[in-house]
Symmetry: D2
Subunit: 350 residues, 4 copies
Amino acid sequence: MAGNSFGQAFRVTTFGESHGEGVGAVIDGCPPRIRLSREDFVRDMARRRPGTGSHSTPRSEEDRVEILSGVFEDLTTGAPIALFIRNRDVDSRPYEILRRLFRPAHGDYTYFKKYGHFDFRGGGRYSARETAARVAAGVVAGKILEPQGVRVVAYTLELGGIRAESINLDSIEKSPLYCPDPISSQRMEEPVSNAGKEGDSLGGIAEIRVTGCPAGLGDPVFDKLDADLAKAVMSIGTVKGVEIGAGFEAARLKGSENNDPLTPNGFGTNRAGGILGGISNGDEIVLRVAMKPIPSIGQEQDTIDREGHPAKMSFTGRHDIAAIPRIIPVLEAMVKIVLADHYLRSKTIT
Amino acid sequence: MAGNSFGQAFRVTTFGESHGEGVGAVIDGCPPRIRLSREDFVRDMARRRPGTGSHSTPRSEEDRVEILSGVFEDLTTGAPIALFIRNRDVDSRPYEILRRLFRPAHGDYTYFKKYGHFDFRGGGRYSARETAARVAAGVVAGKILEPQGVRVVAYTLELGGIRAESINLDSIEKSPLYCPDPISSQRMEEPVSNAGKEGDSLGGIAEIRVTGCPAGLGDPVFDKLDADLAKAVMSIGTVKGVEIGAGFEAARLKGSENNDPLTPNGFGTNRAGGILGGISNGDEIVLRVAMKPIPSIGQEQDTIDREGHPAKMSFTGRHDIAAIPRIIPVLEAMVKIVLADHYLRSKTIT
Amino acid sequence: MAGNSFGQAFRVTTFGESHGEGVGAVIDGCPPRIRLSREDFVRDMARRRPGTGSHSTPRSEEDRVEILSGVFEDLTTGAPIALFIRNRDVDSRPYEILRRLFRPAHGDYTYFKKYGHFDFRGGGRYSARETAARVAAGVVAGKILEPQGVRVVAYTLELGGIRAESINLDSIEKSPLYCPDPISSQRMEEPVSNAGKEGDSLGGIAEIRVTGCPAGLGDPVFDKLDADLAKAVMSIGTVKGVEIGAGFEAARLKGSENNDPLTPNGFGTNRAGGILGGISNGDEIVLRVAMKPIPSIGQEQDTIDREGHPAKMSFTGRHDIAAIPRIIPVLEAMVKIVLADHYLRSKTIT
Amino acid sequence: MAGNSFGQAFRVTTFGESHGEGVGAVIDGCPPRIRLSREDFVRDMARRRPGTGSHSTPRSEEDRVEILSGVFEDLTTGAPIALFIRNRDVDSRPYEILRRLFRPAHGDYTYFKKYGHFDFRGGGRYSARETAARVAAGVVAGKILEPQGVRVVAYTLELGGIRAESINLDSIEKSPLYCPDPISSQRMEEPVSNAGKEGDSLGGIAEIRVTGCPAGLGDPVFDKLDADLAKAVMSIGTVKGVEIGAGFEAARLKGSENNDPLTPNGFGTNRAGGILGGISNGDEIVLRVAMKPIPSIGQEQDTIDREGHPAKMSFTGRHDIAAIPRIIPVLEAMVKIVLADHYLRSKTIT
């Protein structure tokens, strides 16, 4: 049942598969008179696109976003904005084996169980390719947030056991791993390189910061801002954990340590991560997200076929070693979508 | 905008405030011909109710659930089931100070910023009292799941720096702290007692296990089962983090370590926590939830008043030291609501 | 599946049955700081309440609306507003025969087919009693519309073959049949009286006029204002037809006759009924609604029992002869709910 | 706010404008393993397409439906089905005047008022062109209904003052006006021809019949089957009225005349139009829809420009004289979408 949409006032529906015609998004609820053109998508689509480095897949996708509707003379009209990114370079022969075998830690098994029939080529609907549509939708969300002064930045906090020791937002885009600490970024290359040689893969932890978010976004009681953010990031395939502000660490603090004092100049600390009672408090919003390692690895793994017989499988296709750099723009996109949605929703109560 | 509902096929809307007439829930979408009566709610409402021990608030609430609609001759009819829990013992005088001052780490500040006007007595709408309505709704969700063999159990995994060393599900209900390890449960009493003496409070980590869940629940791509579970638990006031299966630990594993091998007898390991590609895989579903310490503490704290002037505040009202035991039944309820919703949703594709 | 809610930004969920505990509504999305108290409901609840005249049922319901939540110190808080109207005078013995027999033209048969089990007493969930909850919700919707200068008035246009020959809005409340033409109102009494003597019942046609509605309410393409209005009124049990502006008559006009010319002073005519392209044009909104005669009549009718055997049935219970006067306030309420919803929705695009 | 979607379990979102890239639909919730290919759309797209006769616009659209997603090896997968119909032959120069002037009885004025900025070319988003996407979605809905034996047929009941005197479903497709009575079809040609000569246009009345619909579709209380049908057809631009079964005529009948007796062999009559209490009763579903004449006419009309100054306008572009034949497939599509949605929804309560 209709699980491919997100948001209420700013509602994003994605469609498409990895090796079908393409992937796309329809955005319903974008206000009119916002300047938008094809060029606006170029930067973020390029950031999400698989690169050419040792740690990302060599698949060459151009990821050009076509605006199919909702924009007239470079301005949004209030009508649904349909975005489409046509697939290219889609040799699906390597995936023919998936007609028979389930890849461990992928959705193959569960899609087969649920639907009986599914497009298994490259993961089909549950491929990371679907996130290209989210990044495109995030660009539109960003257009709503920017005039309000809201800025969303995500970066690699931890990778291959190396944790960024300082956070310098200006360093992020200079790092191929989107790490905000140049020295740690350098050090992260080694475990990535090693995993690549071993035919293995790595997960990691990303952090997201939202500055300039006004107080008052978020709705009681189920659509709390943190609840919607948690859902948004957890809906990305490889994400296995999310925490806001002090997060899991808060579970080990006492109230006297964890409570952020209110002062005439704002909050004294920000263990809350910018959200109180499910509503933004005007402070920086901070969340962290844990990603599992990419399941597709070169090493041989045990699996079963559709009849349940045991089988061996090793994956030789094009895949990332560390997915986290590609997920960074997706995280930003999802957070922007949540914020744009709640920003528009907040207008109905004034 | 409409943030007080959760679920699609099994849709729960809660209403009510801590010191108003009461709290309640309307459930739309419950199938007909399910046996349901007032007595079915007694056990879980009692488990959620503040106890009499040193670590929970002495407020005496009876929390009797009235079934206002949707049940005829002890069977559900398919019509909306309205449940109501009348408030009692509601001396709201101690809260009069909140007309002026914001409690640190509570929703007072953000509700004031968002709504200008709010029922501040005991937290009003964002009070933990609202979760009584969720627990009641969870009972109905449980009635849908039980015949399918689905069982949901939550327990205290960590409290006051003490972590359960063994998981014995039969021990949970015997522990006042809902800890599945009797020895750890005993040891947890000390930090709780100490925090109480210091006028302080504690957070903790809970774990939730779902057994008997069939493969195939969960929807792509935004309404993944793990995404909806994350939202469901994060919508509880004190929750600051959530992880599925290996969770944050998965971020430090390699693919070869984290991938659960498929065997003819099921999954060899369960680092996925029972969910692949957003869909249940038939294995046990495991998630962990981090809760911050209760913000209301006896110690004096810095805050501001509605005009922004600095003030001091110490809270002498009835409040828990460690909220986690009261949240256990709420976590179970929210997980049941998610599963009942996705179970009903799964029927539309067959 | 969740069919008991209406609206998006102003979302009304009703619950309750004719002979259960009561009926109620939960409103999610009402803006804060709107003055609201129990007294605000008295007038409309009284208008909907069965009267004592020859043409309406003598059932004595007091229909006092309890505000269970969402209002603090006589101001809405932005939290869900739960309204409850307790049932009284609920002798359900006369309905015991419905355990066996289906009443013609009622929902008994279809509810039995759909749910297998239903509260048949007085129609249970599909009783006209449910509309009391709608009227209560309509009062809250009206509170949002009034400051905008929007006024909604419904009246009896045709009854028993008599059509109002003039529309004098001030005459409506003076007519026991809510007819805006005093002479026609008088003349309508005769067919009503005759039908009563014959153990029969009457339908009728109501007209609804909305003045002061600003241009710009309504959304493309499915949530057109006229589409939502049509659904809103058609969701009332006895309604069998709805038309906007010239309605069915427009089907017989030519474009040159039906097009409303635009002039510097507004529209020259209003055959559109105040809506163009699904969006209000600032002119008066006009719709007409056809209601079938009440199915419960004193005359003996053919029916079947639950096993499909033929049976005879005549209804001796308390029922209206002409339901239209009681439906007038329900029509107003539903139109207000649609307008309040679209008014709040329109704020998200500015 | 998100008004471009319809349905819950079978959810259709349309996008696109008359003179943009094209129009399309995304269907979320279609069950897997349904055979679907490009050819399935050809017949209905051709029926909706403007013809070459005297009474329809000569615009040559090929209306080929591209399946962008959700189908693999000619079977649906359960993933969203995106359909796209590229616009051709889109000379938008004739519409340049609409940058300044509002066409009477069109959405130009209200779109300008609501959005400030809109794609005015050929009506843009509110063009009849959008209905091509609905027809495509209706084909998919039909695929769900067909195996259940549900058949939906719409036809022209009245046009230019001529009413079909007999209903012969086999005659419909043979009539260029989709009239089920060959003689009346012939007679309807004259008023159409006359209106064409006069630079005028005609409306009409269509009737829709659904056979084979099982009892039990429809949800209380707001999502009644008749309420959703009313919304569905009223969401089509030119529709100004809708009635179910006896419809407006029921308002003039007595209960004893209007009640359909229940017999061991089904309902004795069908004044209810196949729906009781908002739920299908297993009988034929019958509804009628009134359409206003096409607003674009050759005759000169009064209007205003964007600054409110008076102006004259006559339309010379390509437009239908009688739109009803083109709307017939759209009505069928919308009815199918409603039924497919409620069919899937009904599965959640079993």
